[in-house]
Amino acid sequence: MELSASSLRDKLQRDLEADHVEVEDTTPNRCATSFRVLVVSTKFEGKPLLQRHRLVNECLAEELPHIHAFEQKTLTPEQWTRERQK
C-alpha cells in the first residue's frame, strides 16, 4: 500500500466522486504519516458532518491505521463556492 498525498488524493477523488480534493502532508519532515485533506463532493449533500467524515474514513480505511494524524474538511460544492468567496 502506498501512502502519499497523491495516492490519497486519487483515491478520494475516485471513490467519493469528488469535485475537488486537496491533500496536504502535514508531517514536519514530510515523511507522509500526517495529512490534512479537503474533499468537495456532491455525495456530502444532505449529510451531517459525522456521516461525511465516516465516508472519508471508509474510503481510506486501509490507509488510516498507518496514518499518525489526520485532519479532514468535508464540503458540498455549494459550501466550497461560498468558502472561496470569503
Binding site: 458532518l49 459525522l50 474514513n57 480505511a61 488510516l64 485532519e71
Partner: protein, 156 residues
C-alpha cells in the same frame, strides 16, 4: 491552533444567543484514567452513557499528549464545560482499540455527548465554530460559558 480557537470564539460570541439555561457548577474534570476496564462493547456502552460529556484522549485534560486531544480539551474549557469524564487511551491499549471499534471511528480523540458519538477533533472544532456545540450543550442542560461572555460584553 489557539489563534484559530480565539477567532472562532470571537465569531461565536458575535451571534451566540443569551437566554435561559442554568450555569452548571462543575465538580471538575474526573480523570477517569484506566478504570475503564478494557474495551468490551458492553463496558464501553456503559462508560459512554455514565456521564453527559465523555471524551477519550491521548493523555489527560491536564496534560494532553497530542495536539488534537489538546484542542478538544481547550474547546470544552472555552465553553466552561468542567464536569466531564476523560479517559486516557494511552493508559490502556484495550481501551484504545476498543473505543475505535465501538465508535467505528479510526482516530483519537473521540467525544460523546449524552451517550451519543459526536466525532473527533475536526467535528468538535467545526461545531464550536458554527455554534452547534452551544446548542448541543444546551440540550444536555449545560450552559456554554461563551453565552455568558456575550452577555457581559453586551452589558458594557
Amino acid at each position: 491552533m489557539s489563534g484559530t480557537l480565539r477567532r472562532a470564539a470571537a465569531a461565536l460570541l458575535r451571534w451566540g444567543r443569551g437566554s435561559g439555561g442554568v450555569g452548571l457548577q462543575g465538580t471538575g474534570v474526573r480523570a477517569a484514567g484506566s478504570g475503564a476496564g478494557g474495551g468490551q462493547a458492553e463496558q464501553l456502552d456503559a462508560l459512554v452513557k455514565k456521564d453527559k460529556v465523555v471524551v477519550f484522549l491521548k493523555g489527560t485534560p491536564e496534560q494532553p499528549q497530542c495536539g488534537f486531544s489538546n484542542a478538544v480539551v481547550q474547546i470544552l474549557r472555552l465553553h466552561g464545560v468542567r464536569d466531564y469524564a476523560a479517559y486516557n487511551v494511552l493508559d490502556d491499549p484495550d481501551l484504545r482499540q476498543g473505543i475505535k471499534d465501538y465508535s467505528n471511528w479510526p482516530t483519537i480523540p473521540q467525544v460523546y455527548l449524552n451517550g451519543e458519538f459526536v466525532g473527533g477533533c475536526d467535528i468538535l472544532l467545526q461545531m464550536h465554530q458554527n455554534g452547534d456545540l452551544v446548542e448541543e450543550l444546551k440540550k444536555l442542560g449545560i450552559r456554554s460559558a461563551l453565552l455568558d461572555e456575550k452577555q457581559d460584553q453586551d452589558s458594557k
